[in-house]
Symmetry: C2
Subunit: 708 residues, 2 copies
């Protein structure tokens, strides 16, 4: 009937508007049941459960069998990690898989059969689930004794597919790959030509004294390649050229040429290429988000305009205010926005809304919340007013900064004086006394500020919140110290009591004071600019960080699988199995020397957890592991150090230059807006989608049949 | 008289046009004698003598007393360097100073007294000369035995002041300094806060087993600061955190936070700032060059238009073609440009030129030479025409590349097979035979190409010149080998004969073959783009490289002065003077350990010549030198590694992005133009100066009185 139809239209409008708010695609089923399922799927609870599941399945690696989550990383001292019984992690995994199965079926159902076949991500999702479940069954049938678990490497995929930002970023990275591949190819050509040159230049001679360079770095092709590759990372920078250089200074020309061409030119070329590709990336992504929002709102307008209650007036379609109010009340959105829209709807005082008016109403969504600090209390007494003026004045804040600086300096002086003293000689009286004084000042400063500004206004500033929280913690710590150890006096060296020793308490207090010193940041313009750029960057980098986590996880799991059992504690008696210890020791010495020479240790461990050093130091099957380790670390270096760092630099350049230009336009930075989002940063350059584009897209909707 | 006046005007016009061609300022004296002096001063001979003088005075450091220009850099093996007798280098220096005195007087005279007082560079030049001469006199009066020679550090100034590009670049760097200083300040704050945190975190404990981190890296304030500063350079990256990390994995959070904030954010922020500042740098400098050129031409027009022979026509001033022809004939300029201007002057067929026409004539100067390759010879015989088609075809070039690749691979295979053989076991027959075959092919290829293209056309391509030259050298080497050692046969292991052993000859041939493989570059589009970007960059970087040379020179001289006598050969008996060898050795061990721990060796030597390692290893007065060395190397690291590398990256980004955009516009890259200059790269975005700007500048000329 018409009533049911109307209800459906209202529900569709609600969902479309929610889609617009969340920048979601509107290409999903729009019948009543699907709409209910859709709202349920995107409800906070469901999404939270999904995120929790992903977190749990990723976190499993920390407690699963070859994990090494112990306090110390030193294989010689650490206790064996807790091994969960077979079936525990597996049953948690199964639960997660079930959630994912539900997730993928709901998702597939909602986008519809036709769209499903076009969606490669969903297909990959299903495939991953099938492989994981098969692997899980194999695992259980072996009673958890099997060595290779493919499903572990596949796990980060669940994180990847759940974030549209990450998928978009991945697509963007993917489109940069051809250019990156060209530069990497260029690097490879550079490396191989120079390797051949080096092998010819530093050939073996008849005089054994003369060919140190050959012996150490250029013995054969893999050695030479490794030496030069490591030189490209600058890890063995002077060492590799020293033998040749001491023979003849002219040899340094070879190394300088290699470094200049490889490091200075080709590596930076990679930065240039990635920056060039990513220059428009943020803008493009924000532009497509805007399009999705406008599309959702337009779709809501279209379905509302086909409501039966609307008078079939002229050719212009329009929406009644009542219907919109009904939709607004049911839609889930930020209460501030909702109120603002309602308000302007009432002010409009017309009965029917055209498409343009409808869009205009929802522009409230694009605006950032103008944060209004609550007013200061108004005091009657003249004295209180003067107090308020004095302690509400910025100079009082500056005084606080100066006192904090004085505190830092005093701590520094004490640290320098106590540097070489034995712990037993140390006298904590001086530091205890001055810290006590300073903390009292901080407390006083906080109270006076609250007096001047009122508690609400005080708390509305993030810097005050930071300040106040630290002051309260400091106060609690200080009171606890005095309660346990009494008041400071000369020769104050109490014995260890309670949870922490006095020395630890004092250290903790000092660290907090150093940390509290960061409150000066908003007072320095340049620092404030840098910090806001950093915060922006952190927001924009979430997708990149997610992809990094995915890559890191996959690499870590692969590493654990490759180097499992290679960690042999040396120095105590637990050698593995049937090898005589003498040969193990000689092998170990060999490997240490091998890696020291190549500087692979400092190089790879610089980019990977220190754990790996032990893997490399204590490996048993030298050459197998060495070759694998080399390939593994070269891949890791390329991805983490070369590509990811360059992506980061590109984004930083983009963000910073944009910000800097804006700063020059606006001049005033006194009021730092921490709530700035990417969308707002680009607002002035964004293009509004045209009516035609929107309608064309709407008509392509697979499930929504528009009347006209 | 009028004739003398006319001559003067003609001469002025000649000089102004020469100024325009060379992008020189026109603010110099313009009377007859000064013009003669000016042309003499800027004549090729004079400028060449000046450059030679600068080179000589800079090169003196290599033969002066504390120099170490020997073949080996190892202090233990090297022979004492040649010490020139007192007075030799000093008299050369005096000659150079005299040239500089002449230079500065001519320069000062030419710009005039009034301008002289405004020109800080000239004042600094005179001051430098005075200080240098005083120092020289002091030096001679001590019979070259004095220890400090200030004039050596001042020498690079002569290089600096002679290049207007370098002065401009320095000014540009200077204007970026405030922002850079902010970031460096931020780095300092970051470093000091983290140092305090580290000292509190890794404090000395009662248990000696537990505080390895304190003992090794955070013993006192300078130690902690050094540890973290070196961590900022990533030189001691994993080492510094290993002791703490093996105690508790959570300590790694501190180091990760420090590295991420310092290395990833603040260091890259420096890149962003420098890039942002230098984004417009190239454009601005090219723009001001263009202004100088237009101004020079306009000035020439103005003086020519006040010639007496010009009919005092309407308000429009103009120049007679005859006068211009006279000027052109006498002016020194590129003959191609001169001919082109003459040609268009004849085609113009008017008697009088307006200012606009005059400017237009000289636009020929801005155009790049369109390089036309000479035509191929036309053969009559049908067979020859077919030959010409076959061997002139690009596929023949590709075949050559494939053959070169095959040669490279064969060399590579032989190298891998021979890697572990003793030199006496090595059989050079195989390599000799295949190289002989390949070189014959290269010769054939060259001859066939010459046949197809004709010698002139063949030589007009730079890739062919490269190819041909290497082929001829290879041929000569091969013939020489056969002449000395006979033809290769199995078991071909002749004894050493002549200048080079057979093995050296073969190595040389192989290196040349590897080098010759670079001919593939123009055939690969992306490589060609990269190479042209690099070549452009090298052109644009001359000024930066000059400044780097200046800084490097000053640092090297300071280093030599600071660490003179610190180089004590160890391992043989030449210890210095009155110290017992035991204490020297213990000192040495101490220092080695000290620096190994801090990783200062690999860090500083990575950025400085390897010589310094020996300075550091064999120093005598430990703590004095250590402190000085630290400050010295931190300064060097900041300037060379941080600032200069970032400048380089900024320029590379600028160049590459500009180039890349152009490539996308033009699409075709088949004809790489190696003759592109910076001016041409920016031609489409340059703004022409307006008539008013030019005239205003002309009226401000200190020596030229224009009639109107």
């Amino acid at each position: 009937g018409a009533g049911a139809d109307n209800d459906l239209y209202i529900n569709q409008a609600i969902v479309f508007i929610e889609d617009a708010i969340q920048y979601r695609s509107i290409n999903h089923r729009v019948d009543s049941k699907s709409l209910w399922l859709y709202r349920w799927y995107y409800s906070r609870t469901c999404q939270w459960i999904l995120s929790l599941t992903i977190t749990v399945i990723l976190a499993l690696a920390f407690i699963e069998e070859p994990s090494s989550l112990t306090v110390t990383s030193d294989v010689r001292y650490r206790l064996p990690a807790w091994n969960p019984p077979c079936g525990l992690t597996e049953s948690i995994e199964l639960l997660c898989f079930l959630v994912f199965v539900v997730d993928v079926s709901v998702k597939s159902y909602l986008i519809g059969w036709k769209e499903f076949w076009k969606n490669k991500w969903l297909m990959a999702y299903i495939l991953t689930l099938i492989v994981s479940l098969t692997d899980w069954i194999v695992s259980l049938s072996f009673f958890c004794k099997e060595s290779v678990r493919i499903r572990r490497i596949l796990r980060p995929f669940f994180l990847l597919q759940n974030s549209s930002m990450m998928k978009k970023t991945l697509k963007s990275i993917n489109s940069t790959l051809p250019e990156m591949a060209s530069v990497v190819l260029l690097l490879a050509v550079h490396l191989s030509l120079f390797t051949m040159f080096a092998m010819l230049l530093f050939a073996r001679t008849k005089d054994n004294q003369q060919d140190k360079e050959w012996v150490v770095y250029f013995r054969n092709l893999p050695d030479s390649l490794t030496s030069l590759l490591v030189l490209l990372t600058t890890a063995n920078n002077p060492d590799v050229m020293i033998p040749a250089y001491s023979k003849n200074r002219a040899y340094s020309i070879f190394f300088i040429l290699f470094t200049v061409l490889g490091n200075l030119f080709l590596m930076n070329l990679l930065t240039a290429i990635i920056y060039n590709q990513f220059r428009g990336y943020l803008l493009k992504s924000v532009q497509s988000s805007l399009f999705r929002r406008r599309l959702g709102i337009r779709a809501a307008f279209e379905v509302l305009s086909s409501l039966k209650e609307t008078p079939a007036s002229a050719q212009q379609s329009c929406v009644s205010v009542g219907a919109l109010l009904q939709v607004l009340q049911k839609a889930e959105m930020d209460s501030r926005c909702k109120q603002a829209i309602m308000r302007s709807l009432k002010m409009c005082s017309c009965d029917q809304l055209s498409a343009a008016q409808f869009q205009k109403l929802f522009e409230e969504l694009d605006k950032d919340a103008i944060k209004q600090h609550p007013p200061s209390p108004e005091y009657q007494s003249h004295f209180m007013q003067k107090m308020q003026f004095a302690f509400g004045h910025p100079y009082f804040g500056y005084l606080g900064n100066v006192v904090a600086l004085a505190n830092i300096i005093s701590i520094c002086v004490v640290l320098v004086m106590d540097a070489d003293k034995q712990p037993s000689e140390r006298d904590d009286f001086f530091l205890g006394a001055i810290n006590c004084f300073f903390i009292l000042y901080y407390l006083l400063e906080m109270l006076l500020k609250i007096l001047a500004m009122g508690l609400k206004r005080y708390l509305s500033y993030p810097s005050n919140r930071f300040d106040g929280l630290l002051t309260v913690i400091l106060l609690i710590l200080e009171i606890a110290t005095f309660a346990v150890y009494g008041f400071p006096h000369p020769g104050w060296r109490p014995e260890f009591m309670g949870l922490l020793s006095l020395w630890d308490m004092v250290r903790l207090v000092n660290m907090l004071i150093v940390f509290r010193f960061l409150r000066i940041i908003p007072n320095m313009k340049f620092m404030a600019l840098v910090v806001t750029t950093l915060l922006d960057l952190v927001k924009n980098l979430r997708a990149f960080a997610g992809i990094l986590v995915v890559v890191f996880y996959a690499f870590a799991i692969t590493g654990i699988m490759l180097f499992k059992g290679a960690v042999v504690p040396l120095g105590n008696t637990r050698y593995i199995g049937n090898k005589p210890s003498a040969s193990v020791f000689s092998l170990w010495v060999n490997i240490v020397l091998y890696f020291k020479e190549k500087n692979v240790i400092s190089w790879c461990s610089a980019h990977f957890q220190a754990e790996v050093i032990y893997c490399l130091l204590y490996v048993l099957s030298v050459h197998l592991i060495c070759r694998w380790a080399k390939i593994y670390f070269v891949a890791w270096w390329l991805i983490s150090s070369v590509i990811w760092v360059n992506l980061f630099v590109a984004l930083l350049l983009e963000n910073f230059i944009h910000k800097w230009d804006r700063r020059c336009q606006r001049e005033s930075l006194s009021d730092i807006e921490y709530q700035r989002t990417v969308e707002l940063m680009f607002r002035d350059v964004l293009e509004e989608p045209t009516e035609e584009e929107l309608m064309e897209k709407l008509h392509q909707h697979p499930h929504l049949q528009l009347c006209r």
